[in-house]
Amino acid sequence: MKEILLQIDGRQVKATEGMTLLEAAQSADIFIPTLCHHEKLEPYGGCRLCIVEVEVNGWTKLVVSCVYPVEENIIVRTRSEKVDKIRKMILELLLAHAPDSLQLQAFAKEYGADRDRFEKEASFCIHCGLCVRYCAEVKKKHAVGFVNSGARREISFIPEIAAKECNDCKECFELCPTSYLQAVFVLTEALAFP
């Protein structure tokens, strides 16, 4: 694998071809906040919280670090006024759905996000897809999936599969950044298998 040198937050970082910016930063102990990222799963690019500023040949652009591949000699800034502004807004938009999520609150503190900026619409889900993807990619069971689109999108357990698989697994529970997944699951279970 070809070695690639890049700069992240003023530090020279060695990475290998095919790595993402997020992976390169993590390998150098540089922190970038994420919600939908998981090392065992394919990059998803859904929460957009890991957005960073990249300078390529003098051009600055904003890219999502969990899917952007490392390139020779690029300059990465994991914090900037623009980056922080975007992260703040993303957190505020998500806090409308999961105001009590500890992970969201911790990030909110860092980025000065206002928990009450948007009217509450508690849905117990921020659509990070960790449970859905873990079940599909790691467990290969597809017991939980997304249904519907846009603002109506939600996770849903497929009763036929869930009845067989979920009882002995539940590995997705602890992945949930809002810790509400269990509630959803229990609720679905209660409704589907009375």
Binding site: R48, L49, V64, G150, R152
Partner: protein, 547 residues
């Protein structure tokens, strides 16, 4: 029909078809585009068939059921050839008179021809009606002359000569060069040079390469792709095969709507006929080039027209855009180089090969070449599909072709590009139709849906309407798009209902900026464009509803 095995055999087949046709024989061409279909043209068609049977005219008169003629406002449209007499708003009751008067006695029926609503002037022939007269048609002009289910009609109009020329007189590189020189820009929305995209796909490594016709056309108010594809499917198919030859692809996909049965039927027939004639499949026209096409349907959501979402859909996955920073022309369907263009872009290809880049670049503006199909709708006298060269001013489009604003109202703005486009006020009406000029003003052409708005239009409500549409048409995968649109729609609903608060406009702008930069795909990135353009030109309307 036996298959055609060489360029010479194609020309023989063409001459054979033409020799059996008498150009002086009466042909009744009945528009069966979506608009006319909805206005009950099926009853008109049966009435003509019955009347011709009754009067024993079967050997003297042909009936041709065609694709969209463009003048949807006045449908059902009937054109009688060879005189080219154009009748509008034809009902089944008019049919016996048309046969006895016009077909048999060559008399024009006054009440069925076009009357200018302002001057009262009449026009009997298509070429005299302002709606048609002021257009320059190179693509849609074939529609009235072709029964979309007849490959012979397409061949009779010069069809597949571009393909034959490409396969036998040009190398794939030469075809590519010609399209690059023609500066054909993608008609689906972005205006990206098609030749450059083709070149990327051609040069990208991959054991298979794919070409795709994006016939999704999900933009509300855009219906020109449907008009071309339903009315003249071979024109699009020919372009696709030429493109595949240039790129080195042997498998194509047509991705289109599940909810337009007529379109599906015509595409299926076109593919079957082209295969039967040796224009598709193995060893096309005996050239040694192989190419097959599969048809895929959308899953009823706007975002499935986004190129990477469309490709996921073809793979059998959810139509969600991919978060990758690698172009689909390098890694698309099943990670293979994939070139996607929309219906209208492909429809332009055969004429570029046939007539050359020099001819093509003589039409249009410096950076936007050729013609553009535009769907006119909203507060306009002549709703329909029109074709004009780039460089035509918006004023000509709205007034000379569109007939202006109805009911004596004043024009307020024109809106291009549907829910991801923008509105510009009346004062910019002399702007030429041009990808870059209009994008600079904040109203990019998009796919070509032009919505005319009169003085009574509430711009806040219009913006709310578009965002409301997108609330559920986004896939919902990324936060800035899903949540940003949701919140913007909510705020706009409040303002629209008179419950706006101080700071709402600034908040809208802040969300729009984040959604515009941080969203995963073009839908989220441009969802706030109608909002931003209306804030740019009509901010006072928002302010008035808040204070």
């Amino acid at each position: 029909m036996p298959r055609i095995n060489s360029a010479a055999e194609l020309e023989e087949r063409r001459s054979g078809i033409l020799s059996k046709r008498d150009p002086d024989k009466t042909c009744i061409s009945i528009c069966s585009g979506m608009g006319c279909h909805g206005l009950g043209n099926d009853r008109v068609i049966s009435a003509f068939e019955e009347e011709i049977n009754k009067q024993n005219l079967k050997t003297k008169v042909d009936i041709r059921v065609t694709g969209c003629h463009g003048f949807c406002e006045k449908g059902p449209i009937v054109v009688i050839y060879p005189e080219e007499i154009c009748y509008m708003e034809v009902t089944p009751e008019d049919v016996p008179e048309i046969i006895s008067q016009t077909v048999l006695e060559k008399k024009v029926i006054d009440r069925l021809i076009y009357t200018d609503p302002n001057t009262g002037e009449k026009a009997a022939h298509q070429s005299e009606i302002p709606f048609y007269k002021n257009q320059t048609q190179y693509l849609i002009s074939y529609n009235p002359k072709i029964d979309p289910t007849s490959i012979d009609d397409y061949l009779a109009n010069g069809g597949y000569s571009g393909l034959s020329k490409a396969l036998f007189e040009m190398s794939p590189e030469q075809v590519l060069e010609e399209v690059k020189k023609a500066n054909l820009r993608g008609r689906g929305g972005g205006g990206f040079p098609a030749g450059r995209k083709w070149e990327t796909a051609r040069n990208a490594p991959g054991k298979d390469k794919y070409v795709i016709v994006n016939g999704h056309e999900g933009e509300p108010g855009a219906y020109m792709d449907r008009a071309i594809f339903t009315g003249n499917p071979h024109l699009v198919l020919e372009g696709l095969i030429i493109g595949a030859y240039a790129i080195g692809s042997h498998q194509g996909f047509i991705y289109t709507r599940h909810d337009t049965p007529q379109l599906k039927k015509n595409i299926d027939i076109a593919l079957a006929k082209a295969t039967e004639y040796g224009l598709l499949g193995e060893n096309i026209l005996g050239s040694g080039f192989n190419f097959n096409v599969e048809v895929h349907f959308d899953v009823g959501i706007f975002v499935s027209g986004e190129s990477s979402a469309l490709m996921s859909s073809i793979e059998g996955k959810n139509p969600e855009p991919r978060p990758k920073y690698i172009r689909t022309s390098v890694r698309g369907v099943w990670d293979m180089p994939t070139n996607l263009n929309n219906v209208e872009t492909w429809a332009n290809v055969s004429q570029i090969i046939n007539k050359g880049a020099e001819w093509y670049t003589s039409i249009g503006t410096e950076k936007s070449k050729g013609t553009k199909l535009i769907s006119l709708s909203g507060n306009i006298v002549n709703t329909g599909v029109v074709e004009v060269p780039f460089g035509t001013t918006l004023r000509e489009l709205v007034y000379d072709i569109g007939g202006g604003v109805p009911n004596g109202k004043k024009l307020k703005a024109i809106h291009f590009g549907g829910p991801m486009g923008g509105s510009i006020p009346e004062e910019f009406l002399d702007t030429p139709l041009d990808f870059d000029e209009l994008a600079k003003l904040g109203a990019p052409i998009g796919a070509g849906g032009l919505l005319v708005l009169d003085e009574d239009t509430n711009m806040v409500e219009k913006t709310r309407f578009f965002l409301d549409f997108l609330v559920n048409e986004s896939c919902g995968k990324c936060v800035p798009c899903r949540e940003g649109i949701r919140q913007m729609a909510k705020i706009l609903t409040n303002i629209s209902e008179g419950n706006g608060k101080e700071g709402d406009i600034e908040l809208l702008e802040e969300i729009a900026e984040v959604a515009g930069t941080a969203s995963l795909c073009a839908l989220g990135k441009t969802a706030s464009d109608p909002l931003l353009s209306s804030l740019r030109y009509f901010r006072d309307e928002y302010e008035a509803r808040i204070k």
